[in-house]
């Protein structure tokens, strides 16, 4: 596909064929090479052909091929003329990242990190096919869907302050469980309060670099060696079922004729089906917020028991990186409401936006970018530039470069654990095979991804964290 170079970090797929708008790719030459290897760019082109798309379709630095939309795809649609697409959100609705700060330092936990990891491994259910310790009734599940993280806090998991420091305050108000299928409810009931498997993880980390002292300070990050906790997971089988259900419902209603890719299936935003999907997706978003809220609570419990206290273990922030939302953006010089899709992309609002917690409003929103198992993760801050050039969005993580199958052929879980131990990283997992599949070498270089985000101006570097203990599903 032909790309026009705009500057060192920005490329354009010019409007051609059925495209309603051009598409913009934020990448370095190096990242572009891997982006070009799969169907990312043709998929971005397909997105640019959808009805009611505003400004441009955007592709983030960590993009790779998805289904329908590319992973790392951002697009916004006119509320009246435009569409909403389950394939523009992804199957793992509100897959996201939560970060807790602590007052502990590396030296405090060095001796105890094995114990801490063991404790967390015992408290937080993980692994494929394994349910949680909290068995819900249908009625309670509906309450979780309606209230999100607020439900968890009301039931003793965490604090009100956590809610203030969560995207959407941990609750999308449009959520309505009455449009969920029976199967979605059945899959949700056993899975609340579980980490899951695959690329999801929980890490005890230490701050290894601070790039912006002032902003880091506002986020509660003060010193090198300071201990942080990162939780990366989503809405589990519940969200997957909601996505599958609405792809099927939309296909049955509108047919698939003329779609270049079946997962591009969509519905007008304000149509019955569009509304039902948005309300059901919001329920899955809330489920995932509650899920991370519960897991964070258990981690604090373990620290309390082993370190004697969980004081100072405040939430820095919690971000979604698979979501659709109604947001205000500048369209041709006027602020107007649009339906934005972020699939494998993180909101990155700059200073002043009312959606940002008051404590952060002067500097911008914390953006949390997890690396792969055992590699660095990053804390960035949102920018006004991002609002101008990417609908306030940036990257979401490392992104795979190697299939799981290939990783299994090349790596052994035991060897990877040893490798990590030599770097001072403890690892606990439910499966060796899972460890091999998630080998750090199977992922893109997250350092390069955040560097491009910073250079392109869509998310500025604040701090880098590296793991001391990793728990995998």
């Amino acid at each position: 596909m032909e790309l026009k170079k705009i500057n060192e970090y920005t490329w354009e797929i010019p409007k051609h064929g059925d495209m309603k708008v051009p598409a913009i790719v934020y990448a370095s030459e190096a990242l572009l090479q891997s982006i070009r290897r799969d169907l990312t760019l043709p998929q971005a082109k397909n997105v640019a052909c959808l009805r009611g798309i505003q400004r441009k379709a955007y592709v983030m630095p960590d993009a790779h091929q998805g289904y329908g939309f590319p992973i790392g795809g951002v697009a916004a649609f006119d509320m009246d003329e435009g569409v909403i697409s389950p394939g523009g959100v992804g199957y793992d609705i509100n897959c996201g990242v939560r970060l807790l700060r602590t007052d502990f330092m590396e030296k405090d936990v060095l001796e105890k990190r094995k114990l801490l990891l063991e404790g967390i491994f015992r408290e937080v259910p993980a692994g494929v096919g394994k349910g949680g310790t909290t068995r819900l009734s249908r009625r309670v599940l509906e309450e979780v869907c309606t209230k999100g993280a607020e439900w968890a806090v009301n039931n003793g998991y965490g604090t009100r302050d956590d809610l203030l420091k969560t995207e959407e305050n941990g609750r999308m108000k449009e959520a309505d469980p009455s449009f969920l299928s029976k199967r979605a409810v059945e899959r949700g009931i056993p899975q609340l309060g579980t980490l899951g498997a695959g690329n999801h993880f929980l890490e005890i980390q230490k701050v290894s670099e601070i790039y912006d002292k002032e902003v880091a300070g506002v986020f509660g990050i003060h010193s090198l060696g300071q201990i942080m906790i990162m939780i990366h997971c989503g809405s589990r089988g519940f969200g997957h079922q909601v996505a599958s259900d609405y792809i099927r419902n939309m296909e049955n209603k509108f047919g698939i004729r003329g779609l270049p890719d079946r997962e591009l299936i969509n519905a007008p935003i304000r149509s019955n089906l569009g509304t039902q999907y948005y309300k059901s997706m919001s329920a899955a978003v809330n489920f995932a917020f509650a899920n991370r809220q519960m897991i964070a609570h258990w981690v604090r419990d373990v620290f309390s028991k082993i370190m004697g206290s969980s004081k100072g273990m405040d939430q820095v922030y919690d971000v979604c990186h698979n979501v659709a939302k109604f947001e205000q953006h500048d369209i041709e010089g006027k602020m107007k409401e649009v339906c934005i899709h972020r699939k494998g992309a993180t909101r990155s609002f700059g200073p002043g936006r009312k959606e940002i917690p008051e404590a952060y409003r002067a500097v911008g929103q914390p953006v949390l970018i997890p690396g792969s198992m055992g590699t660095a993760s990053y804390i960035l801050v949102g920018t006004s530039e991002a609002e101008r050039i990417s609908f306030g969005s940036t990257a979401h993580g490392a992104g795979r470069v190697m299939s799981r199958h290939e990783a299994l052929r090349r790596f052994r879980g035991e060897a990877i654990k040893q490798e990590l131990e030599q770097k001072g990283i403890e690892l606990r997992s439910t499966s060796w095979k899972g460890v091999a599949e998630e080998a750090p070498q199977a992922y893109k270089d997250v350092d390069e991804v955040v560097r491009i985000s910073h250079k392109a101006g869509i998310g500025r570097l604040v701090a880098k964290v590296v793991p001391m203990g990793v728990m995998k599903g």
Binding site: Y91, D92, E186, G196, H200, R248, S403, W432
Partner: protein, 140 residues
């Protein structure tokens, strides 16, 4: 004939499953999905679950059929070992598939890993004439 084969695909799991009949290709596709999370050869065949799904076309039928594995895993901790008595028929404008899943409930004796989030339509191919083949990308 090989039952199924995986291909290089950056983020997800892409495979082809083969069979003399479409039913056999569907059956082998189910085993390929199971193989992403556990070794189906090592799962005891203690439980039988009758399965019935439909689809407006064969692709939707295949997605719905394979999704059944994920649904049974999440709701009953059911691990698939084999698919038996699989039959596909047409009724009016719908395709209907019936089969028996044999397998066992999860216990810590079984090693399972990875996560299949969903069965996608991405790069899906169905060859209906013998030798039959289905190509699937699973979101993992």
């Amino acid at each position: 004939m090989k039952k199924y084969r995986f291909f290089q695909h950056t983020a997800d799991a892409k495979f082809q499953a083969y069979g003399q009949t479409l039913e056999e290709a569907f059956q082998h596709a189910a085993l390929a999905v199971a193989s992403l999370m556990w070794n189906w050869k090592r799962i005891d065949q203690k439980t039988e679950v009758p399965v019935q799904v439909d689809g407006r076309d064969l692709k939707q039928l295949l997605v719905n059929f394979l999704e059944e594995i994920l649904y049974l895993l999440d709701t009953r901790s059911f691990l698939l070992s084999q698919v038996e008595n699989i039959a596909i028929r047409r009724k009016n404008s719908l395709y209907i598939l019936q089969a028996i899943f044999k397998g066992d409930e999860y216990s810590s004796d079984y090693e399972i890993s990875g996560d299949v989030k969903a069965i996608t339509y991405n790069e899906m191919v169905i060859r209906e004439n013998a030798p039959c083949m289905v190509q699937v990308v699973a979101d993992i």
